[in-house]
Subunit: 322 residues, 2 copies
């Protein structure tokens, strides 16, 4: 499973950061969580294709999370996509998109299916990932989406194979693929007798705008990664006041520590934080988070790729700027 960030700024784009969008790649393709204006421009700089995009999840209907949706849908049409596109999100997502399509004469050569966030868990949505949705606290309804591997491959345990006496050969393959095997001496061996315990299914939770990280307590219980906004540092949040209903780096990091989340990715930074030089920089955000959280911490950058390995460890990949 791999994340690639297509936008990491909040509210408005900057020269180095676009507004919200993150791609999640898995075995069967990729999904997009949020689609701020210019997401399709960022996609042009990746090896992601609108043809292999399986579904789009919108966390909430603020413009910096959804104004790129009509353009991405239009461009997928101009690229002759024919596969249906599922778009998941809270109301009034469908009214927003249909309204734009109606007023701008946008006709698509593929069907779009709108799925209310309440139905995000439907089993047939993604072949290889189970989806959860968790309500957050923001100025308008906002949600976190969780993605969990549906199937986890299991490996044969050589020691147990030897102890039971399964001869090397086709019986190993049968057991590996979940079939019982009958040994030459007539005994029946079940896969559970000779397979290693399954690893934990990987789970990534990607949250929308939210001023109360604690709402994610249940959602992150088995999660390896939480991607959460840290729009402000605590000092700026206190100056801005609670009106915008965003989180500070401190509050998210404290929650991640208390919830024992092994990998934390902060994103959705206020444009007041410069990348390097300036009165306020991302280094301030990072320092505040590190003071609370000793886990594996990342501050998202546009186009950065983060891979989650089967041991549940998140690490950054080289991301060639195309």
């Amino acid at each position: 499973m791999e994340l690639q960030f297509l936008g990491t700024s909040s509210g408005t784009p900057t020269k180095t950061r676009n507004v919200a969008g993150v791609a999640l790649r898995s075995a069967d393709g990729w999904v997009l969580v949020d689609c701020g204006e210019g997401t399709q421009h960022r996609i042009l700089r990746t090896n992601l294709s609108p043809h292999t995009l399986r579904a789009i999840f919108i966390t909430h209907l603020h413009g910096d999370h959804c104004y790129g949706l009509p353009g991405l849908l239009a461009s997928a049409g101009l690229l002759n996509r024919t596969a249906p596109m599922a778009i998941v999100g809270p109301a009034p997502l469908e009214r927003y998109v249909r309204g734009v399509m109606d007023t701008t004469a946008l006709q698509l050569p593929y069907p779009v299916e709108f799925i209310d966030v309440a139905d995000a868990g439907r089993a047939t949505l993604l072949s290889d990932l189970a989806v959860t949705a968790t309500a957050l606290s923001h100025r308008i309804p906002s949600f976190a989406y969780g993605f969990t591997e549906k199937a986890v491959e299991r490996k044969l345990d050589p020691a147990r194979l030897a102890a039971v006496g399964v001869p090397r050969g086709p019986l190993w393959g049968a057991l590996q693929s979940g079939l019982d095997a009958v040994l030459p001496d007539g005994r029946t061996v079940r896969p559970a007798d000779v397979l290693q315990p399954p690893r934990r299914a990987r789970r990534i939770v990607i949250a929308g705008d939210n001023d109360t990280p604690e709402l994610l307590g249940d959602a992150v219980r088995d999660a390896h990664v939480l991607v959460h906004e840290a729009t402000y540092t605590e000092a700026v949040l206190e100056k801005v006041g609670p009106g915008p209903q965003h989180s500070s780096a401190l509050r998210v990091a404290r929650f991640a520590r208390e919830a024992a989340i092994p990998n934390l990715v902060l994103t959705h930074f206020s444009p007041r934080y410069q990348d390097s030089q300036g009165p306020l920089t991302l280094a301030d955000v990072e320092a505040e988070a590190r003071a609370e959280y000793a886990g594996n911490l990342f501050l998202a950058r546009d186009l950065a790729r983060l891979a989650l390995d089967k041991e549940g460890m998140l690490s950054e990949l080289a991301s060639p700027e195309a």
Copy 2:
């Protein structure tokens, strides 16, 4: 008067070209013609500001000409713009924008005034420019906007001043500013007696998508510059067929020659034309236009700046990539 191109691709953005948008600077600020997705991202790379943007003109409601509008309006709001914004365009422009605002909880700290294209000529719209709108031929209603200087400064003619015998001094200033002057000998001199003939007011016409350049015959009669789409070369247009209702470089260039337009800017190129190498390049578009048109020809590039001097000559300025 100066043009700066914010997008020069048709349909979808490419790595080097955004979708439609062009800024026109004049004495009193700047106006934007079309606002495809990502226009605000391009503005970040210019010295244009959403604070000094006086009005937005939308040629037609296809997405590659208007999907950047909600995001630009939202960002101007986050920048605390308070001045009213006029948005001119054909129906259903207001329904499109209001629908997006309603469904995405977009509230602006400044008033937006929607002006139907039929009222584009209202005298109070721009202080220094008179605006015309001309209906074109496309799949949906599409228009060209013409911008003409309202006032043209006039210079005193030293030979005529000497012949009439106006003494150097405050009387010159009075005559220059349009007042009659009474000479020491009692004669009254009128400005028309001593001013040089006025130069022609500069006029720039920026057209939306259009398959019939000849519809612009009246609009360009006194124009110094025509900016027009040349989506295809003629060979590609014939292969694609008339369905998309776009122009070829050949058809636009031929019209510009017949209409004796001194400066022609082609834009809105199909992404199939590469900037340099490839089976189809912009050089093909340029060659086709040059074969028909011997005037001052430009192929627009993103962020390129073209200045129209008072003699009606268009020339490219250095455009520092910020």
